[in-house]
Symmetry: D2
Subunit: 390 residues, 4 copies
């Protein structure tokens, strides 16, 4: 039960890089961070255009002098203040994540970073090692993982309620880019340009979301090999894909499947995960996140509802308002951000016990997302062959 | 589009009465008020138990000396401060709303009050006159009205897309009180005690919610007469009802129907409104608030989605994150609270133009809810006869 | 399990009155009667236009000389044949049911009759007494009652799985007559003319369907009083209603509600029944008849599926193809018709044991439907007052 | 509009091989064939156990002497009668289809055969050539293709309403064989034994169903290459699969996907097809066959309903009862069977015009189903590699 009470002794002094005027993702970061009184926004380098960034920061109520022209300037200037920032969130185009995240860690900051962390596993591992050596948190915003019923799924699977896991079917397949909308909208154009977006479009942009949900629900399962085929239905996007299918073999013999798409015309989100065991299945859909379908073979299907007392305690921890009421994506993100704050605070106090009890998408999750995309692209670019998972 | 930017020059200094430790409704008030940087929580009388209230206020980060033992003490003490509160929210049991609201208005405060405002139309009108004469805002938390698709429905109806309105079917029928749960839970016991709850239970507690939605969607329609029958299926609740049916005749010949229930076993919320015209119908369900069903007779049914560019501009004003993403009840409440703030600010500046352009559940909505319950009870207590609407 | 095997020693020689060229209802009667080899169509008076009726009967494969100009002629001629008809189905406009049914019984025939049997309880009782004294079956085509999950609901309620029954909410509210479509379509014009349709339109035409489902599910419950209000939104239909609300008080303290409508714009059928007990609810919707929702308060909602082994044996008796496969209205009607055949056969053999084990909408159901409409109209025409149920 | 009127001058004299006592599939064949008065059941070899077969045939009302011990005996004996059978339906285990179909064609009979026709493309082509040379119809029971909205999808796609076709996602994934249920049930044991079931289990048993729907909807699209991976989650089923994924590249650059499964625990049927174009998508689900989802990118999603006048004329041809009423699988099968009858009749009269206007799953469809399975197995057995479609 979340009730607005303080989670940490003091709010963490926090800044943003990117996420300025007109950015939806910037707003959701701020909304999530500020929701539970665990972060305090004190600085920002919101925009590649310094004047626009300063105007925007001021409109948020920041002091003008803490609205910086660049992240480099911000990290340097804040380091000199006794009340300087302790953490930073990165909500810039993909191609800049690696450099900013590295600079932030080197500046002694905790980090919250948009996925993907970077473009290669090599870079990701470097960031991980840096975070570990500097004892800093890197939280990655797989925001859907903050929905309470994801915890319920994890608990039910751990409890054996599905039997042996056989199949994990995932999809995140929206239709918003069925046409070449990027041609008219500079704000999305970078997503289909490899220089800024990296080696993939939809695999990284949407496919890694349900993949991370599967990692939360199924912590024991490891991918052994995969095959991926990807397409650019809007031809100007090539070599980046706007549709991809990935098949995975897990080490325990289970099969996984991910459909990633931005050209699923007419679909809103289309993010779903279905975990199938020898006894029963679970299915969750992010457009109606307060429901979880539980289907035992040979029994009536059941609809579990968020916030109900029959759920596992771990699925009730983040309940803000009881069952029947709709919670949404903002609550999911807030649930991650307060965990980020607790993790940062516990790290600073070297409270290993609290840290080990806390689950959130951390630097390891970030590395795994980059790894999956890299393996998918390797398979796809070889013609859709099975590749060992590296 | 809401993006976290400042809506008012300064946050309003704000306090709460009630809504303390363990109160879901208290949390949703705070979450909504603090979301958009329009209110600043500076004081509170959170609990009938002063020590518990002080502990709770402190846990929220308040200064201990501004956590008061009673609302009377708070209103008096804050009035002496230059930085004293400007507004107060009332989240106490029903029986106290009238007195606290009146005291707040007399203390020169703007008010946000839980429904029902009071128990009789006479009291409600008194509060309305007081608010008008003192030039203060009284916002009433019909929270579901903050969902964006309610505005879409209003716009489509105003635009004639349904034809002549014939039927308005409403229900709010959950099952959480199918048993006498109040016997084991003091926190809900007052709801079925007329001394604290007033003349009705479910009519006021749930029925007025979709009724207010109908007032937003159908501002021109007026009730001419109604009949109501109410039941106490859990007998210990008598004379308060846990189930009621209300039929209404509107002055234009249309019919209305409201099913209010707390004993709809197994139902989560069951709040729905269906407006039927000569050409088409609209239906909305609060458990999936991001969808609106639009059914033109003789055409395929349509599902409208929140946040999509095909919506009416008034339905996009409060978009915080685009279509496909789930928004929920917290966003709906926040949308009301920022309107409350703008209304308070505009009132203080005597900005009639801004005030007249702003729609939110105000003191008039509060009066109308009390009026509807009073008429329902009058009909029901006369045996379920049709009564002229007074 | 139905498998096409013979249910009776010989098919019953059967005729139809009405249901000719272009009649949907005629086809569904024939399809249902002929499905299970229990009836053999040998004669008919299909049309008020003798030539058209003869042409149509011939197109069905009948001998021309057994395609009669009128039911009177048919009853007379067939009575003279050794292979004359044994049963007749009546699918004519409402205003003729009484006379044809009476004539058929007097001619020594079993009858299947469209509802309503007639226009007054007095007539209905007369038909009942005639049927009883002549030892003939009168089956009434409340076709939805043949859906297997209706039996499941009955069994679960009888078994106490819902607890004490508190509320029965029903509706049959389509939108096909939102406009005055009868003006352009002579085939439906009689439905809104009291001379042919009787004292009501939607109450009898659609409202009695879910009402009969409630009688099947809840055989013990008796209506004590009711109130009804009805409207003619298409004014030319007055005094017949195209919309009506009925509230009912049962003798055990439960409440019932029926919404009957032909102006629910955009709705397809909108036939639903929800039975609410102190412990759980059941809900069924005729547009998706293979599912039954079972909601225990405080537990996840369950979806029961037709044809599954977890159902009650009585709900599996008529299974024609296992769970997952869609059965529809034609199967429901067929399930009634084979019961009609078994009942006719058992009556002719005076097999009381078989008769008493057989449930189907019989003459008593027909009488009760007429009674309900009569009470509704009496209440509505008195201004929507509560009337004792007579 | 189907109304029970005669479709052919005389019913076709018809027999069955297999489909005896307890066989669901046998019943659905008979129910479909006899529904529209186009076939007359006059003979059968219903069971591998002659006595049981005779008893069953008699229970259906057949003359005992036309209940044969074997199909060989039946074909020989009936050929000697002037009123001998003209057509035969084959509803036996897969391993016998080829021999019986061949024998029937050689005996001068029209055939309706369960899929798969046989186990290899070579055999399938042989049957096709035999059918062509003997001028006989072979209908294949892809029963779902008889649903009216499949025709609507075909018409809308042909009309360009989806834009260029990009993606065809299909699945038929039920959960009924999540456990080794065949061990306790001899009637299903053959399905997982390659001697009787052929080279595949779920690919042929369920996967070919939506594949055929895609062939109906998208007659122009040709598979260029595919890859398939299959699993035996119940190990005793190996080498036959109980789960398989197939990816397909079409010659026009579109992608296809089929998930075939019998271990999708808790799922009823799970047969769905989604066709995605550059402008819009269509989706159909066999458990609710009266609805078709139509989603134009950037517009509200639409739900099309069977039987409504806004549908394409070809989707209304087989309407038996108007929109809102539920039709089901039995109607879909009947719609195929009456086409089979018309095709047989037209073939006998050498009416090429009528034949060319008639669409139904014919011998070519049968060949294509066998071809697809053969290609899938070839890919899967090579380790899940892409293979050219042969």
């Amino acid at each position: 039960m979340i009730n607005g009470e303080k989670r940490t002794a003091h709010p963490i002094r926090w800044a943003m890089v990117g996420g300025g005027q007109g950015s939806q993702i910037g707003y959701i970061h701020r909304s999530a961070a500020l929701r539970d009184n665990t972060f305090q926004l004190v600085a920002g380098a919101f925009d590649i255009d310094p004047a626009r960034g300063k105007a925007f920061g001021t409109s948020l109520g920041l002091e003008p002098q803490r609205c910086y022209d660049s992240y480099q300037e911000m990290f340097a200037a804040e380091a000199l203040r006794v009340d300087g920032i302790q953490a930073v969130s990165i909500a810039t185009p993909n191609g800049t994540h690696y450099a900013i995240c590295k600079a932030a860690l080197l500046a002694g900051l905790h980090v919250v970073c948009e996925k993907p962390l970077c473009f290669t596993v090599e870079e990701a591992v470097e960031l991980r090692e840096l975070a570990v050596s500097r004892k800093k948190i890197v939280g990655v915003t797989y925001g859907y993982a903050g929905h309470q019923l994801i915890e319920q799924a994890r608990a039910m699977i751990a409890n054996g309620e599905l039997g042996d896991i056989r199949i994990v079917n995932m999809q995140f397949a929206h239709g918003f880019h069925s046409e070449a909308v990027e041609e008219a909208n500079p704000a999305t154009r970078w997503r289909v340009d490899p220089r800024f977006a990296g080696p993939s479009y939809v695999l990284g942009d949407v496919g890694t979301h349900p993949l991370y949900l599967s990692e939360v629900m199924l912590p024991e399962m490891k991918i052994e090999s995969l095959m991926c085929t990807r397409q650019s239905f809007v031809k100007s996007r090539a070599p980046l894909e706007d549709n991809a299918y990935t098949l995975m073999r897990y080490t325990n013999g289970a099969m996984g499947f991910v459909w990633s798409s931005a050209v699923n015309a007419g679909s809103m989100h289309g993010q779903k995960i279905r975990v199938i065991g020898s006894r029963a299945s679970l299915e969750w859909w992010d457009e109606h996140p307060n429901q979880l379908s539980f289907e035992i073979q040979g029994k009536p299907a059941q609809i579990l509802e968020r916030g109900m007392s029959y759920l596992h305690p771990s699925a009730l921890l983040d309940d803000r308002i009881g069952g029947g009421h709709s919670e949404g994506l903002f609550e999911a993100w807030s649930n991650l951000y307060y965990r980020f704050a607790i993790a940062m605070d516990a790290t600073d106090r070297d409270d290993q016990e609290q840290l080990s009890a806390l689950r959130y998408p951390d630097i390891h999750a970030g590395v795994e997302g980059v790894r999956w995309v890299e393996n998918c692209v390797r398979s796809a670019d070889a013609g859709g062959v099975w590749v060992d998972y590296q």
